[in-house]
């Protein structure tokens, strides 16, 4: 049974490509593309003041590395056009008298117009802008105080010194690439297994298998082990890409990662097989797979933090194997934590894996009747 499944897979050259090339390509693309870092925001400057102060502030925006000035505009109409067309994501607007107000000791106003369609990025840009503006006003304040009072020292403020642990530079890539491993492996194993039993039903080989003395356990083992092995190879390949290409640190124990992978694969294979036994055609299996896969990703914390979800939906995420594996894989990669911390997740995966495989074997029993 085992040998046969391997022959099935390897006799089809397209299948080989799907199994090994696709994960490589996808992890490369995702590694670069899946990032929430906001850098090089296309920025337009609408400077009606055109003073030393306004130019200085724009320079600070540029120096931060987050903003690129792509246009200087002269009127409201142009601002609209740039934002509408998406040529600029942010517009810095200085009204006439910006410097004068400042020199007069009053609060000068800097308006930041943002393309809020992408609320997430807009929020981040807003935060950057606020920080730059605050720093600017502090410098101005210090300079002015110094000039006014000579030896006068401004009152000591609080200097916030934030340190991000585990991912020192807050690089979103370090957070997402391990997640990519989880979702790619899930996709591949789900697809392979969900097709596995249905294909036999469609082609008519299932009937022939059913008259043989093969037990459901043997059948399921024959259907899962090859895919589990493929899943493992894929995990190793993508991990290698993550570590050597994207330089994602791996701080934890590799053996623990493999153990977790084994448990995780049990769940994905179990679910795939279950889908396969309840489907009559490959199309049905395909649809069911996506029906499971999409929510599994959205409700896993891969992109959207689970803590932000409504409570009822948070409960739902406890049923999602991807949720647990993401915690484990990120924990192992970034935090280097071990089994003493991760055991609840591993246990959850093990229980789910056994249950789904059991369900699949049970469903297999009399598929004909």
């Amino acid at each position: 049974m085992l040998v046969k499944e391997f022959i099935h897979i390897f006799r089809d050259p397209k299948m080989k490509a799907v199994i090994f090339l696709v994960p490589v390509i996808q992890s490369m693309i995702f590694g670069y593309a899946v990032t929430t870092d906001v850098k090089h925001v296309a920025t337009a400057v609408f400077d009606l003041d055109n003073s030393q102060a306004s130019r200085e502030l724009v320079a600070r925006f540029v120096r931060s590395g987050y903003f690129d000035v792509v246009a200087r505009v002269q009127n409201e109409g142009q601002v609209r056009v740039l934002l509408d067309r998406g040529r600029a994501r942010a517009v810095l607007r200085f009204n006439q008298g910006f410097e004068r107000e400042m020199l007069a000791g009053r609060t000068a106003r800097l308006q930041v117009l943002l393309d809020g369609a992408d609320s997430n990025s807009a929020g981040i840009v807003l935060e950057y802008s606020a920080r730059i503006a605050a720093e600017f006003s502090r410098t101005v304040l210090i300079e002015r105080s110094a000039r006014l009072a000579g030896a006068f020292r401004p009152p000591g403020g609080v200097d916030l010194q934030a340190r991000a642990w585990f991912n020192e530079n807050l690089e979103s890539r370090n957070f997402y690439v391990p997640g990519v491993i989880a979702i790619l492996v899930m996709l591949i194993t789900l697809m392979l297994t969900s097709m596995a039993v249905v294909r036999e039903k469609e082609v008519g080989t299932m009937e022939q298998i059913l008259v043989t003395p093969i037990t459901p356990g043997e059948f399921i083992a024959g259907k899962t082990l090859p895919f589990a092995l493929i899943g493992f190879v894929d995990v190793i390949v993508i991990t290698a890409i993550a570590v050597f290409w994207f330089e994602v640190p791996i701080r934890g124990n590799l053996l623990l990662l493999f153990l977790a992978t084994a448990l995780y694969l049990m769940t994905t294979l179990g679910i795939g097989l279950f889908i396969s036994t309840i489907s009559q055609t490959q199309q049905q299996a395909m649809m069911s797979t996506f029906f499971f896969y999409m929510p599994a990703i959205l409700l896993s914390g891969f992109i959207f933090p689970i803590a932000n979800m409504p409570e009822s939906i948070q409960w739902l995420t406890y049923l999602n194997p991807l949720r647990y594996f993401l915690i484990v894989i990120r924990g192992i990669f970034l935090k280097g934590i071990g089994i003493s911390v991760l055991w609840p997740q591993l246990l959850a995966l093990a229980v789910m894996g056994l249950l789904t495989l059991r369900a699949a074997a049970g469903r297999f029993h009399k598929t004909m009747a």
Partner: protein
């Protein structure tokens, strides 16, 4: 001991009764034919007997084991060739055979010898390395048979194995079956071809899930009521239509350029048929009474059953 025995075997799908209170038995070493038109319940019966499907009610024993309670035990002693080619098209002939040898737990020692013997037996030896998907229809069926024989089953089930197979391969196939019967294998074969049914030691005629006739081909032919009148005419098709309309009491069957009429009074029918056809300017070349073939029996028994069903 009977190789197969059923008692009131019934299987429903929703409201339709696919197999209706079937009771019969097949002795060891018999070549038993299950005959019936499409949709008669042949495949369902096969599935019930091979323990792939559970009956709604009734019981069946195969090789001494109950199909529901001793399902696992049955599977070691039966072989099954399904109507659809049930082997892996992307595996070679010998890979398919090895796969089934694995599943049936054929010991490795005798395996090579056994596979070689079966391949030789079925004339497939030259195609060992060919992908099963690239075999012709007849060869596919022979491969299916070879795989079903890998564990030397006591009872062999064949579900319309020669459907869509060319005549030469069919003859080949039957030669193998006879060989198996000599080796005391019980064969249970379903077919829609009546010339094949004629070769069985015993037959069951199935229609709408019910057993209409059971016995040797000779016995089944005795069921025929009336005599058979064979006509050859210049325009068989038009003649058949006309005769059906004008002589509704007779069952009219069209076999190529021949027309068979079932009648209780051959002489009277001969006269009236001749009159009808002459009236329509159809020339009659031959009119004679012939012994019934299974086809005739089949048509007439089915017609009687239809009439019976309508009266119910």
């Amino acid at each position: 001991m009977d190789a197969i025995r059923t008692e009131n075997l019934t299987r429903r799908f929703g409201n339709t009764v696919a197999v209706d209170r079937l009771s019969f038995s097949v002795a060891e070493g018999e070549l038993f034919g299950l005959v019936g038109p499409d949709g008669a319940g042949k495949t369902t019966t096969m599935r019930l007997l091979t323990a792939i499907m559970d009956p709604t009610s009734g019981d069946a024993w195969v090789a001494g084991c109950h199909t529901v309670r001793e399902e696992a035990a049955i599977k070691d002693s039966i072989g099954y060739v399904s109507q659809r080619f049930g082997l892996y098209q992307d595996l070679t002939v010998s890979e398919n055979m090895n796969f089934y040898a694995d599943i049936y737990g054929v010991p490795r020692r005798d395996r090579t010898e056994k596979i070689d013997r079966l391949l030789a037996f079925s004339n497939l030896a030259p195609f060992k390395q060919r992908l099963a998907g690239n075999l012709s229809g007849g060869m596919k069926q022979k491969l299916g048979l070879a795989c079903a024989l890998i564990h030397t089953p006591k009872v062999l089930f064949l579900d319309e194995p020669t459907n869509g197979v060319d005549p030469v391969s069919r003859r080949d196939f039957w030669r193998i079956l006879y060989q198996l019967v000599r080796e005391r294998v019980t064969i249970f074969i379903s077919t829609a071809y009546l010339d094949e049914a004629e070769r069985c030691t015993r037959l069951a005629l199935l229609h709408r899930g019910r057993l209409l006739a059971l016995g040797t081909p000779g016995e089944v032919k005795q069921l025929m009521r009336g005599a058979i009148l064979e006509l050859r005419t210049s325009d068989a098709r038009r003649a058949a239509v006309l005769l059906r309309k004008e002589l509704p009491d007779c069952t009219v069957g069209l076999y190529g350029d021949r027309i068979h009429m079932v009648t209780s009074e051959p002489d009277a029918t001969k006269a009236s048929a001749t009159a009808v056809l002459q009236g329509a300017a159809i020339a009659i070349t031959v009119v004679r009474q012939v012994p019934p073939t299974l086809d005739d029996v089949f048509v007439s028994v089915l017609a009687q059953a239809e009439v019976g069903a309508r009266h119910e």
